[in-house]
């Protein structure tokens, strides 16, 4: 009995990676996110779906404080990562972003070699003591990005010379290289063709074993394929949040149903 409670406790604290409470975001005068409460679990793929302009990307960017780079953006409410408020004064956004990695809508490899692209994060954060360790990190990250076999013979070639799908997997490998705990993906497949999309989706499923993945997507099929939890945003509100299967088969809210059946959005 005693053992059981202990088990439950550890599961609980491990399970919730990010907890957002009453989050409000304003861009100047416009109210982009309204009282959003969400709990994102560890080692789970959470999908944010919703029509364009519903605030899902904005909310995603709150999770690693990328909105700080936008002057007119104000964030209110608490976002806890492992129980710590990331908007606390003592939290360094730069450190936070190393823990909460991000992959963007358009593949954005740096105009450097493939090796330097992946080594960028580890170099900045001093994760490798020497060249051999760095080589190891780069190889490990490229393998996790499911692109190692394609690029191992041309690590010195520029990352911008890869195809779109390869570039996006390179960017994922780059994000993975800093050993993040959470990986945020902002429509990572919207600039890719179906084959590259399938490869990236497969990769996302593999990443789940190590990281908590949050993915914003326009494609409901994609959300259904890759995620375990789904959050539906509409006009800045979090309308419904629950297991993916339930959201897609038996939504509670009428708006969610309208959206997934294609009547709105």
């Amino acid at each position: 009995m005693n053992d059981m409670t202990l088990m439950d406790n550890t599961v609980d604290t491990q399970n919730i990676k990010i907890a957002a409470k009453d989050v409000n975001v304003h861009y100047g005068d416009s109210h982009a996110i309204k009282d959003v409460n969400v709990e994102i679990e560890d080692k789970t793929v959470t999908a944010f779906i919703g029509p364009s302009g519903c605030g899902k990307s904005t909310f995603l960017r709150c999770l690693n404080r990328m909105n700080d780079t936008i002057d007119i953006c104000r964030v209110k409410g608490d976002i806890l990562l492992d129980g710590e408020d990331i908007y606390d004064r003592r939290v360094d956004p730069v450190q936070l972003r190393a823990k909460v990695g991000m992959v963007f809508q358009k593949p954005n490899p740096f105009p450097k070699s493939i090796y330097d692209n992946v080594a960028y994060g580890p170099r900045i954060h001093g994760l490798a003591r020497n060249k051999a360790e760095l080589d190891e990190i780069v190889e490990k990250s490229l393998r996790r990005g499911a692109i190692w076999d394609e690029v191992k013979d041309r690590l010195d070639a520029p990352g911008t010379g890869l195809s779109g799908g390869q570039q996006q997997r390179l960017c994922i490998a780059r994000a993975v290289a800093t050993e993040p705990e959470v990986l945020l993906m902002d429509e990572p497949c919207s600039a890719l063709d179906p084959i590259a999309t399938a490869q990236v989706e497969e990769l996302i499923d593999e990443l789940r074993s190590r990281y908590s993945v949050v993915i914003v997507t326009h494609s409901m099929q994609q959300a259904a394929r890759v995620s375990q939890k789904t959050a539906f945003f509409h006009l800045g509100n979090l309308v419904e949040f629950g297991p993916t299967g339930q959201i897609f088969t038996n939504p509670e809210d009428a708006r969610t149903e309208s959206y997934i059946t294609g009547r709105i959005g």
Binding site: N108, K112, Y120, C171
Partner: protein
Amino acid sequence: MPTFWLVALLIALSAVGFYGGRRRAIATAGGDVKELHSLPSYYGYHVALAAFVPAIAALAIWLLAQPMFVETRVSGMIPSEAVPESSTLGLVMSDVRRVAEGLDLAVEQGLLTAREARNAVGGEQDLRALMGDVGVALGNEVRPEVLAAAQTYRNLSHTGRTAMTVVVALLALGGFAWAYSRSHKDFRARNVVERAVLALLILAASLAILTTIGIVLSMLFETKNFFGLHSWTDFFFGTTWAPNFRGDSDLSILPLLWGTLYISFIALLVAVPVGLFAAIYLSEYASGAVRAFAKPLLEILAGIPTIVYGLFALLTVGPALANLFSKGGLLGVEWMAGATSVLTAGLVMGIMLIPFVSSLSDDIINAVPQAMRDGSLGLGATKSETVRQVVMPAALPGIVGAVLLAASRAIGETMIVVMGAGAIAKFSANPLESMTTITTRIVSQLTGDTDFASPETLVAFALGLTLFVLTLGLNVLALYIVRKYREQYD
């Protein structure tokens, strides 16, 4: 008829053509504008252009060609023995022109009748005094052969002008009539006007190119003359610059080139870091309000005339440096003799180049996509790490191009070095000594009383051409680097 009135008449005719063509086109459509192929004003423009363009082109060509034609005809009349020992055919011809002009003026002011002017021969009247009365000063008495040539000159010019008026008028009226007759509702006036616009644009573009070619050619010919008088080995490989007017000058470019490059180097040493950092601050760190205020302020620097920078060098920077480094100065050293030095000119020129470097670099840095910055910041890099490791490498080719453009401006700069650098041509590594540059020597060789046949003057063209080749090379290199290494985003 004076040219002015001819042009005025052409304009008036075109204006009439505009309204005439328009009205006729509308009339052919039975007053219904929708029936026309083009808007009514296009028919008007068509007639106006047809009346104006060929006529004005003929006028321009005629005005350029007639003096040349008359000149060659008249100069053929002057026998070679009529040219005095101490003079040249060119000087005699200028006398001829002035006499012809004087006679015309005298007729205009009523001192002579047209017939008297035509029959005027030397001796009967004191032509020189008469010329003096109408404001044409002559150096000596009018000789008979000069007078005869002047009369021919007047005759030819007069006939030429009459013929010109007739030709221009005929062209204008012909164009008018032809275009007017075509102003029919089915005529595609809009397309014709479109072609005329294209021709105008091409004309403007080719004028700019032709002028450049003309400048280069004229420098090339004068440079060839110079190398006929002075050995090219001394010019390119000699080590002394010492022009004098005894005819044994040492005219070599190397000391000047050294001064030019040294001053430019110091200028870039100032301008590149300051300009680049300013650009980075403005594009990456500054908030919108600061940027809106600081960027125009920085660009005001670019609007200051270089002569003002020259004054700044002469009156502020030079004396300040002298205060530090010269005898009795604050540092107690004696490294500087006067206020003019390489450092003075280099510092001020560097200040001049700051906005140049910063505004070019700013544009280039802004062209680096935001996605690059987001990618780097998203990995937990700080702003300066992002700038140093992602933005700068991506912008580097463009920045190198900007620096090379700044270098070519520094090399060609004149006013600041005239006032700040001194006038002594020498090789020295000490930046506190006066030196001089190619541009300032061009100025000093060409100003004052100059004889355009001596190597001391002609050397200016050789210097100018070398400078031109140097800056052209830098510009080409800059463009090449920018194009070759430009990152293709999207």
